[in-house]
Symmetry: C2
Subunit: 393 residues, 2 copies
């Protein structure tokens, strides 16, 4: 069971970072769900609930009494305590007994996936801890939760590989559907129907997954498909992923719609395509444990600029896992919005996208997105990368 595996992994990470105690403190997780809940408890909890994991290997769950049975039956927690009126007595009693030097909780300015504790819940927890003089023991769990999210187990990678398999199959099917006169919306609908047929769900907001962009002057990214029609001479690109057992794929493929009489894409389109393929391969070769994402981004970005294109207005790639944008370490430039993410060290078993883009004026946007697993020996693509521009006849 994945939760048991991740909780055991968390204990190891707490030892490694010499962190005594990690608390995930939630309520009404059906309304807003701390991303860490996925590694701790599948069911949503209604009332104030604390999932506690310690460096010494203890695991406690303190939850509303009506939800104890659900948590007990997971078989993950050494001790499950239920309460009726309020969590404070049981929570403080447990913490006094543990007497941890530090109490790591889920907040982070850098990393949204490690920032599941709301400000109101932080104030509540801090107020309770003040009653036993523990309030200054609170620290951010960012290092712990980043590593827990980032270090994919074999079971997690396998789920993502399945999602990637479906994604590539659907790209392959839609190739024969794309034709001059088809709209972006029709192409997206074809793909969505295939997702439904496979009993899957798309990996992000279904209003723009898949995202389909044909020709020049599109929004280019993060926008819904429109009534715009495929025309000969267009570059068409799409961004798409599915979830398998809660794990995502996130990939982009690029197509060219041949003009009448053309047997191949024109030179300026091929140059753009080759530039993207090369920049991805240069990035993959540099991506290995210990380097920083800012360096990988720089390699791809400089290659694109060296070929005479504008630089892309986003990071080169992000981690993927339960969310399409997952984890802390990022392949990106030193921009304010990325905070310290581009400077986090790359670790083994992280999974990244590599997704540079460039514009070919009058034709459209060339963008490819591959997914790569970081191994001790370097990064390997999780599927065959796009090496040929897909031609629509």
């Amino acid at each position: 069971m994945l939760i048991k595996e991740k909780v055991d992994q968390a204990i190891g990470i707490l030892k490694e970072y010499e962190t005594d105690c990690w608390i995930t403190f939630v309520r009404e997780s059906g309304i807003m769900r701390d991303p860490m809940m996925d590694y701790l408890c599948e069911a949503d909890m209604t009332w104030h609930s604390a999932f506690i994991v310690t460096r010494s290997g203890e695991t406690h769950a303190i939850v509303g009494q009506m939800e104890t049975r659900t948590v007990e039956e997971m078989g993950v927690y050494g001790k499950v305590t239920g309460y009726v009126e309020g969590i404070k007595k049981d929570l403080l009693g447990t913490l006094k007994a543990l007497n941890p030097a530090t109490i790591a909780v889920n907040f982070s300015e850098t990393s949204e996936a490690c920032d599941g504790l709301t400000h109101g819940m932080y104030l509540t927890l801090r107020g309770m801890l003040a009653e036993i003089g523990f309030e200054d023991r609170l620290i951010s769990s960012e290092r712990v939760t980043s590593s827990l999210k980032a270090r994919k187990t074999a079971a997690e990678v396998q789920r993502m590989q399945k999602a990637i398999g479906h994604t590539l199959e659907i790209f392959s099917l839609v190739k024969d559907f794309i034709a001059p006169g088809k709209t972006e919306l029709e192409i997206a609908a074809f793909m969505t129907a295939e997702v439904d047929r496979r009993n899957l769900v798309v990996a992000w907001d279904p209003t723009h997954c898949p995202a389909v962009f044909t020709g020049p002057d599109t929004a280019g990214a993060h926008y819904r498909p429109t009534e715009r029609k495929v025309e000969r001479g267009h570059i068409l690109n799409m961004d798409f992923g599915v979830k398998v057992d809660d794990y995502c794929s996130d990939m982009q493929r690029v197509f060219y719609v041949l003009e009448e009489g053309e047997a191949a894409a024109p030179e300026e389109v091929m140059k753009g395509f080759d530039t993207i393929v090369t920049s991805i391969e240069l990035a993959r070769q540099a991506l290995k444990p210990g380097v920083q994402g800012v360096e990988i981004d720089r390699i791809a970005r400089e290659h694109i600029v060296s070929q005479g294109y504008e630089e892309y207005p986003h990071g080169l790639g992000h981690q993927v896992g339960r969310f399409v944008h997952d984890g802390t370490a990022l392949l990106g430039p030193a921009w304010e919005k990325y905070a310290s993410k581009p400077f986090e060290a790359i670790e083994e078993n992280m999974v990244f996208t590599i997704e540079p883009r460039l514009t070919v004026p009058g034709r459209g946007v060339v963008t490819i997105e591959e997914m790569a697993l970081v191994t001790a020996k370097g990064a390997q693509f999780l599927a065959e990368p796009q090496k040929e521009l897909i031609l629509i006849g």
Copy 2:
């Protein structure tokens, strides 16, 4: 369009509470979505984004540049600003120009639906505001957001009435499916299939919506259906709701499975049923603008105890809206976990559940859940309440 209607309502509420400026500050809302986003922007935002509404009626959205077109096309915001590297410059520039005395943001110890700002994002915002000396202007938006959630517009009530209509129809269909020997899981599956057939989704976590409990010794609430079989002499109760256009229903109905030769439920079952029906009606009669939820809970609770039953281990009822547990004001006892919720004044256009329960030993749990709208003249049920115990032959 509902978002436009709710943003206009928010401006009125800001005037009423003399609050200059309300900011909803989010990032990666696909990972954790501030509940207020549903009233401000349907699409998820990737990068740091600020939705600003002022008492004077100004509306600003500051979002990542790749997402400006999505926000502009909503036609709700007077000004939409896109950025590439980071939000700080545009956000501080806008706030300096507005120069609000207070800046309300979404945190609340009391109310989870008003607590969408994460602690990391709070720290980021506070840090930015400190650069222009505005950090002490931050206040909780709880009053504003509570009222915005609680004061249902006609369009919102209409959506909930549609959800209630489907719910009662499905209860009516499942009545003919329930029979001795059927398992809780089979009964739940029958209902789920009907939800699918109607192209709806259930109102909460599908692992326990519907929740079905037959006979004595069940978990009683907040637990998944099991392989337990319906037997003659059981009380069977179920908790179920659906969403229509993002608005929920949440209702419970109770059934009795006749013994061979029985034409009616035995006396102890009828007494339990009548006690619940009466306690709901007493609560409804007392529920009106200006009273506190703690008082309504006390009326139902005391009636049940007066008939010789133990008191129920939860609140009498909660608000319903986009979430099944929605809003701040609650019909509940003065327990720690409910914080100040039971002491919030009831207002016109709130929608509450009323859902007391009691146990009939050896038979099961009697529980009915009705939904009522608070009007100026008092509360009215949003559908015909259960007045007869449903008998299974």
